[in-house]
Amino acid sequence: MLIELSEVSKIYNQGHPNEVRALTDIDLRVEQGSMVCLKGPSGSGKSTLLAIIGCIFPPTSGRAAIAEKQMTRLPDRFLTLHRRETIGFIFQRFNILPELTVLDNITLPLLPLGVSPKERKLRAHALLERFGITHRAQFPAGQISGGELQRVAIARALINNQPILLADEPTAHLDTVLSREFMVIMQQLKEAGKTIVIASHDPLVFEHPAIDRIVTIKDGRIHVP
């Protein structure tokens, strides 16, 4: 099991007046090579759950094992180290730094890993080629089209060959054509062995045939209909 959560709860600002209970008793198991969609209304806790799976912060209580490692009570630093080996993120709006070139954006995760410029270029070009955007390598990321941007974001999530891909509302700002294209790429990645979790309430995503399972979340709990 690549992702294994049991009785996971998350309380933001615990003990403060602005305390928010975002997740309660989440049990979730995702095996390697499957694609899961987290579905639910706004504020239900999808992003919070992705953050826990993505080792951004540990759960307040419960146990979370990501790629065979227990996250609970792991110091921040080790979460980061584990995250960059294991998790690739694709964000809503893609979170690209617009003044950097496409190439520099894609290789950002490799800088703190001490990967040499030569090796970085090599890896980035392999991905650029795979997604057909080699000709954009030296363009500032702010100057390329939405479809190209989406592929840059995916390339960045794959640059360190991480086994898990997490996407938070990836199609929220895309038109139908690009949303479909996104799911085609996800399907290919799944077939290549990646484990994928997508938070989305876009039917183009959760109705896609490549989705193995839809997990519905309501008020921070998994909703079983």
């Binding site: 951004i56 995250r83 993120f89 709006r93 800088l111």
Partner: protein, 398 residues
């Protein structure tokens, strides 16, 4: 592991450079302000250092007690016979008459310091012979012979000749022959110095026979300088008695340079902080927060983000140092520290013209760095801890 760390720091340095480049207008303005601060500090330090070096050398060749005659606040010549009044004073080793004056060469537009003195009369340790690069000091009988400093030699542009002439006040020409040249090692003192016999100096300035401008008194025991000076004052009430410690004090008062430098250092430190305050007080901009959050999610540690800031600051302050120091050197050497003219006016009381030969000790450079770069580094890197407060999950959609 070492290889990994070096590679990683190089990557982060690379990123710091590119992020400075992305904010080039802001980076450039910080760089320029910073360079200006260092420029002022370094110029000031070079000038004061040059002046104090000069003062030190001048003092080294200053007799323990100098007698001068003042009238209406100006120096006058006085008869050599004053010397006789000193005969009875115990502890005086030797009294040597001297004529000290400044000659303006209207042809070459240069100022020379002229010293007429029988240098053989000076006590052993005080003789100028050690400052000679070639030739010898003119002896008492060698009329018409001079020893000149390095820049005078250059200014005279004699070609192969060793003779030149200067004008007496009545515009008649007085010929000289060069009998020696001062070493460049003592340039600070001897650069514009011209040493001739007492009689020649008298002739050049048209001072009546038997008159001098100074009497140099050498004492047997330096501890008795003050006592002897008091006795001289009693014997010759109309004469101004200058002791070496007094002259030393005058120099110090004229520059007040130590304290001046101290306060300028503090000001500079303050300025450096102001630059930062302006740079940082705004806190993290939304773009900065966004960038930090993205980098964190992508696996950058807080220490990596701090390292980016650190390298940025090192680059900016390093460039500012090089720029500021170079500009200061050019300012002092090629523009004679023209920005400091008003501040340095006091110097002309002691010498008519300022030849600045800047010198800068490694210690001074370190001091300037300590007062500018270190506060700047501290003040840029410390607030960068704020990046630790940016949660990585703010990069997620929501």
């Amino acid at each position: 592991m070492a290889q990994y760390n070096i590679e990683k720091q190089l990557n982060i340095l690379d990123y710091a450079l590119s992020s400075l480049w992305r904010r080039r207008m802001k980076s450039l303005s910080v760089l320029l302000v910073f360079a200006a601060v260092i420029f002022l500090l370094a110029s000031f330090q070079m000038v004061t250092q040059a002046l104090s070096d000069k003062a030190k050398q001048v003092l080294a060749y200053t007799p323990e007690i100098t007698l001068q005659k003042m009238s209406a606040g100006r120096q006058e010549t006085f008869p050599l016979t004053y010397k006789d009044q000193l005969d009875g004073i115990f502890g005086i080793r030797r009294v040597v008459p001297r004529i000290w004056g400044y000659y303006f060469d209207e042809v070459r537009l240069a100022n020379y310091t002229v010293m007429g003195m029988d240098t053989a009369e000076m006590p052993e340790g005080d003789r100028l012979d050690s400052a000679l690069a070639s030739g010898k000091m003119p002896s008492h009988e060698e009329s018409g012979r001079v020893v000149i400093g390095h820049s005078i030699k250059k200014g005279l542009d004699l070609g192969g000749r060793s003779t030149f002439s200067l004008f007496r006040p009545d515009l008649s020409l007085k010929p000289f022959e060069i009998s020696g040249e001062f070493s460049q090692n003592t340039d600070i003192l001897t650069n514009d110095l011209m040493v001739m016999t007492l009689d020649d100096a008298r002739d050049l300035f048209a001072i009546p026979a038997g008159q001098v401008t100074d009497l140099c008194v050498y004492v047997a025991n330096p501890k008795e300088i003050d006592t002897i000076a008091r006795k001289i004052s009693d014997a010759l009430p109309a004469v101004r008695v200058l002791t070496r410690p007094q002259i030393q004090k005058t120099y110090q008062v004229v520059f007040g340079w130590r304290s001046g430098f101290g306060s300028i250092c503090l000001l500079a430190a303050l300025a450096a902080f102001v630059i930062l305050a302006w740079d940082k007080a705004s806190g993290l901009s939304p773009e900065e927060r966004r960038e930090i959050a993205i980098l964190k999610v992508l696996g950058w540690e807080t220490s990596d983000l701090l390292a980016v800031r650190f390298w940025e600051s090192v680059i900016v302050s390093g460039l500012a140092c090089i720029l500021g120091m170079t500009a200061a050197y050019i300012h002092v050497v090629y523009f004679s520290a023209s920005l400091f003219r008003p501040v340095l006016m006091g110097w002309s009381v002691l010498r008519p013209e300022l030849h600045l030969l800047p010198s800068m000790a490694a210690g001074d450079i370190l001091l300037i760095l300590a007062f500018t770069v270190i506060p700047y580094l501290a003040a840029t890197v410390i607030p960068a801890w704020r990046s630790a407060t940016v949660p990585a999950d703010s990069a997620l959609g929501g």
